[in-house]
Amino acid sequence: MTEETKTMRGLEAIRLAIEEEMERDDSVFLIGEDIGRFGGAFFVTEGLLDKFGSERVRDTPISENAILGCAVGAAMVGMRPIAEIMFADFLTVCMEMIVNQAAKARYMYGGQISVPVTIRVPFGTGIMGAAQHSQSFESWFMHVPGLKVVLPSNARDFKGLMKTAVRDNDPVIFFENKRAYYQTGEVPLDKNFTIPFGQARKFTEGDDVTIVATGAMVLESINAARKLEAENIHCEVIDPRTLVPLDKDSILNSVEKTGRLLIVDEGCKTCSVSAEIAAIVAEEGFHFLKKRIIRLNTPNVPIPYSPNLEKAIIPNAKLIQENVKKLT
């Protein structure tokens, strides 16, 4: 049976997922700044106001705590809100509702309730956003028990994981990579298409080096792996897709095969996603390792404005190639 698909950009795949879920379930609604008539800073929600009306596509004032309060509170009494925080960088003004409320309500209230909220957050570099519009904060939320953390890298996964997020009964923070918004891919049109949390995706097969990458770094890694094929170096590129839950098995199985691990993520290096993955492998897959682990990250620097400076610090295919070779 062949899957019916359509080519679309990442941001359209998210929109499609949201649209389908809103049609399926009346308790799903959207809330955020400029998501209605304007269609959202990245136009992800464009057209949804016309389709679903202003009750279910709720524009708000610039009050991120109130946005998330609406979303988390409504979820506590059975709604399935999808809130948008316009840039990941603005999470700094509204951590409270996510970290101390959504993440903890179920546990600290003794399991009385669940909080089926989805929080959508565009993140990452690539638009000259400078220090306050380019950040990658996903590792902060991995550190907060009670949250699920999703970070797709491509259009197909955007759709499948967004649908799972909306249907999940726990709070999900859904990181949307800005560069991935604009990359096209084949997206299944089946309304029942979902991707379970906790399943990594392997993009290439190989015996030599395991590359674990997230977000925009997945494509860079795939490109690097393709180039390296020509030099007879065969890499497995693995995208965890969800960071909590994290599919450790896929990573460890690959490292068992290759004995070599390179991790690439766009967050600043210290205490990033790559730190956790390196630590897991150093703990649970140490005996597989033939070489040291290498992490490629944005160095510990605020993101600069000038494109040539920004480019100089974000890992790319070339840097990945060079570092894979260091391991072989």
Partner: protein, 333 residues
């Protein structure tokens, strides 16, 4: 003695119930305070002195209406109809607690009563209340939300965002500001310039009232009015209830920052005593009934302590339960 005006929509039984609830809260907190040494937590906040607010407010709403609470939540819990046995057990950190010993005093919640939780973060209740009110509105439930918060919380940024949002969407929510004159050790007249915090409502195009928070009937009436408006789609109201906490900030607080005279003055304005006299004056009850209520109340509390003592400590093998509702899929691909 002369009769005064009591609300006509309340029967004698209902009036007596207000008294009973206030007394139950009072005696509950007294017991908790006495048991501080056994409970051990330094973060238990007693509601003593403020009983008229929770009781008057919760009497003005239906059982299926919602409330959100604060770090000082025992009173709200009891007023909303929560079970004191599971409340007591929770504060003691026992398995039989309403949150299975995971939450403690600052997180008591009874979702079966739509008591949506005490909260350890000052100011975090109102944003959550927005969402609850929004859900009620979107589902046409006709339910309202009371969101309790303190004079200290009033200066949190989240409050401002919440009041504005509630106002623009005309959400069915009542902001119940418990002004007990202090945010921890900080006097409200240091923390803000204005005398009546209800003035802030104007900045959001919302109605605001300042009332005597020690008068359970005034609280009841004012909240009731606001609730009626909210239920009809008229939007939110801010109601500042002036009151005073009799005890320190926590049951372990030495409370050196407040003058004895001030405390004594406010004790003379005891909401329970005041209401008792009023009910007697109006011949709603008499000394004999009062005596009986007093005994029953203490009995209830003794009972809850007994039950609590029998309740085991939470099983440490369950410590990782209830973090997530949907189990985590960790399969390979």
């Amino acid at each position: 003695m002369k009769k005064d005006e009591l609300p006509k929509d309340l029967s004698s039984d209902e009036l007596i119930n207000l008294y009973k609830k206030m007394l139950l809260i009072r005696e509950f907190e007294q017991r908790i305070t006495k048991d501080t040494g056994k409970i051990k937590s330094p973060l238990v906040h007693a509601y003593t002195g403020e009983e008229a607010i929770a009781v008057g407010a919760c009497a003005a709403i239906n059982e299926d209406d919602y409330i959100t609470s604060t770090h000082r939540g025992h009173g709200h819990f009891i007023a909303k109809g929560g079970d004191i046995n599971s409340l007591m057990a929770e504060i003691y950190g026992k398995e039989g607690g309403i949150c299975k010993g995971r939450g403690g005093s600052m997180h008591v919640a009874d979702f079966s009563k739509n008591m949506l939780g005490a909260n350890g973060i000052v100011g975090a209740g109102p944003p959550l209340a927005l969402g609850v009110a929004l859900a009620s509105k979107m589902r046409n439930e006709g339910k309202v939300v009371l969101t309790f918060f303190g004079d200290g919380a009033a200066n949190q940024g989240m409050l401002h965002e919440s009041m504005n949002l509630a106002a623009i969407w005309k959400l069915p929510i009542i902001f119940v500001l418990e002004n007990n004159k202090y945010g921890w050790s900080t006097p409200v007249d240091y923390a803000t310039v204005i005398k009546d915090l209800s003035l802030r409502a104007q900045g959001y195009g919302m109605k605001g009232f300042t009332i005597d928070g020690n008068d359970v009937i005034e609280v009841y009436k004012t909240i009731k009015e606001a609730v009626d408006i909210a239920r009809k789609g008229g939007g939110p109201t801010l109601i500042e209830c002036k009151t005073y906490r009799w005890q320190g900030q926590t049951t372990m607080d030495a409370d050196k920052y407040r003058l004895t005279e001030e405390k004594e003055e406010w004790k003379r304005k005891c909401p329970i005593e005041k209401f008792k006299i009023r009910l007697i004056k109006n011949e709603v009850f008499d000394r004999a009934i009062i005596q009986k209520i007093g005994e029953d109340t203490l009995e209830q509390i003794d009972q809850s302590v007994k039950i609590t003592k029998k309740s085991p400590k939470p099983d440490i093998n369950t410590v990782l339960d209830d973090i997530y509702k949907n189990p985590m899929n960790l399969g390979g691909n």
